[in-house]
Amino acid sequence: MTGDDPRYGAEVRRRMATLAGAGDLPPGPGVVTARAGDREQGAEILLTGRVESRRLADLRFRAYGCPHFLAAASWLTGQLRGADRAALEGWDWRAAADALEVPPAKFGRLLTLQDAVRGLARNWPGAGESTV
């Protein structure tokens, strides 16, 4: 019954089952957030990460949107754990499109995801200082 909907691939169904990574982290040292999208346009995301030793030790999402978008956000939290700021800056939505078999009509929503990821990099703790 649930497995026959050709619109949603296996990864979307797996992700939607638990929405692993949903939620947020209490504010505190090393905690960084980024927001992107617009609910009125159909997709909005809030990412919250905790940076330890210049890497994402934890990442959570909250999202509004279609199953592909929610699933991609969930998938992302697993993918980016351990990533450093440069990885976030270079993150590309195409990886999510492939992993989640997102139809082209919805690529725009993945750009919203990418905006949020790059927003995390921008808001990276100490990003204002030059800490190379």
């Binding site: 019954m1 649930t2 909907d5 949603y8 939607m16 929405l19 949903a22 947020d24 957030t33 927001r35 609910r39 009125e40 159909g42 909005e44 995301i45 809030l46 909250r62 999202a63 509004y64 949107g65 279609c66 199953p67 929610l70």
Partner: protein, 390 residues
């Protein structure tokens, strides 16, 4: 389908076993499978007798005489035959047609075709409750208006138009009146005489009859001219050529007969289920009923949920067969034009759900749906970002 709770009876219904049995009697080598036009032999006459019995059964439900019934392949064809057929025939009298924005695509797209043929169509905007009242129709009439088309029960939101009032107005003004009764006939009382209806589109499959058969009920006195859509064998007094599908027509007759016999009782039961559904769902925050709260058909409930993505809501409800709009529109992702016409925002329209009940719907189905919708909405709202940036 045991694994899915079916709440999409406005899209189509399961065929009643009594209907299926009557159909089966017209299929196999030992049944009445002959061509009902082949009245020169006994099997053909038996098939013809069945067709005529079904004609009387369907006519009886809408207060018509059997000879007013023209069999079609469904309400889409009946609507097209009514609109295109009447407008093309009566074109010399005028080229103006009046309808509403919330009609079924079978009416709206036929009207667009009429526009391509040089007609002018006024699309009335219903009030926020989905109703188009007679004075509004009256204001739209012009000296060259030849036809008014208004649906009985709206397929998306279930509101019931006062077709009798509009019918009497049209009769007074000598304007033809067509009613698309695909969703209401056999469920609510309807009478072509009393309601002054010149053309009435019917279909079997919303009433536990088979898909692919319907009828246009045509006024005969005085005779109403129509240009046919299909030309050929001259069946149905030349108005609709093509071999009559005995089993389909017989299935429609049985479905209408059964529905008429239990109409009051069944409507009350189904309206009770619908009310239970609404009572359960209205408690959820941000829930809005679409359409007039009282003037509604028993089986259809349309709700908009604020702040929930419609596609994800449907995904969460995948154990239920429900619709986010008219069945005919489910393949495109456009927000429902019906809900938009009622003034709902795109996002509200997109986050809307139609749950529609039928003969086989149970209290258990309703309670399961209330629980599932509640859980889905709670889950989706819990995962959404807070409204004001944290």
């Amino acid at each position: 389908m045991e694994d899915v709770v079916y709440l999409d009876n406005a899209a189509t219904t399961a065929v009643d076993p009594r209907v299926a049995e009557a159909m089966l009697e017209c299929l196999g080598a030992h049944g009445d499978y002959a061509n009902p036009s082949a009245t020169s032999h006994a099997p053909g006459r038996r098939a013809r007798a069945r067709v005529e019995q079904a004609r009387a059964e369907v006519a009886g439900v809408v207060g018509a005489r059997p000879e007013q019934i023209v069999w079609t392949s469904g309400a889409t064809e009946a609507d097209n035959l009514a609109l295109l057929g009447a407008a093309r025939y009566h074109r010399p009298r005028g080229r103006h047609v009046v309808t509403s924005r919330t009609e079924h695509p079978a009416v709206l797209d036929a009207c667009r075709q009429l526009e391509r043929e040089g007609f002018e169509v006024t699309y009335l905007k219903p009030a926020e409750d989905g109703l188009v009242e007679a004075p509004q129709v009256e204001a739209a009439l012009r000296p060259d208006t030849i036809l008014v088309s208004l649906m009985h029960v709206n397929n998306e939101i279930g509101v019931v138009q006062d077709v009798g009032a509009v019918g009497r107005l049209c009769r007074d003004r000598a304007v033809l009146f067509h009613v698309d009764a695909a969703q209401g006939a056999g469920k609510l009382p309807l009478d072509v005489e009393r309601d002054c209806i010149d053309l009435l589109a019917l279909t079997a499959h919303k009433l536990h009859g088979p898909k692919g058969v319907g009828a246009l009920c045509v006024r005969r006195e005085p005779r109403l001219g129509l240009v046919p859509l299909l030309h050929g064998g001259g069946q149905e007094r030349g108005l609709r050529s093509g071999t009559l599908a005995t089993h389909q027509v017989v299935g429609m007759g049985a479905a209408f007969r059964i529905a008429a016999a239990s109409m009051a009782e069944e409507s009350a039961r189904i309206a009770g289920l619908r009310d239970r559904l609404w009572e359960g769902l209205r408690r959820l925050p941000g829930t809005l009923l679409n359409g007039h709260p009282m003037r509604r058909a028993p089986g259809i409930l349309s709700i908009s949920f604020d702040d929930v993505d419609g596609e994800s809501l449907l995904y969460e409800l995948r154990g239920f067969a429900v619709s986010s709009g008219s069945a005919c529109a489910t393949t495109n992702a456009e927000p429902s034009y019906v809900l938009r016409a009622l003034g709902r925002s795109d996002r509200l329209a997109q986050g809307s759900l139609r749950l529609s009940l039928g003969r086989y719907s149970t209290v258990g189905d309703v309670d399961a749906a209330v629980a599932a919708v509640g859980a889905a909405i709670a889950r989706l709202r819990a995962v959404a970002p807070p409204r004001s940036p944290a």
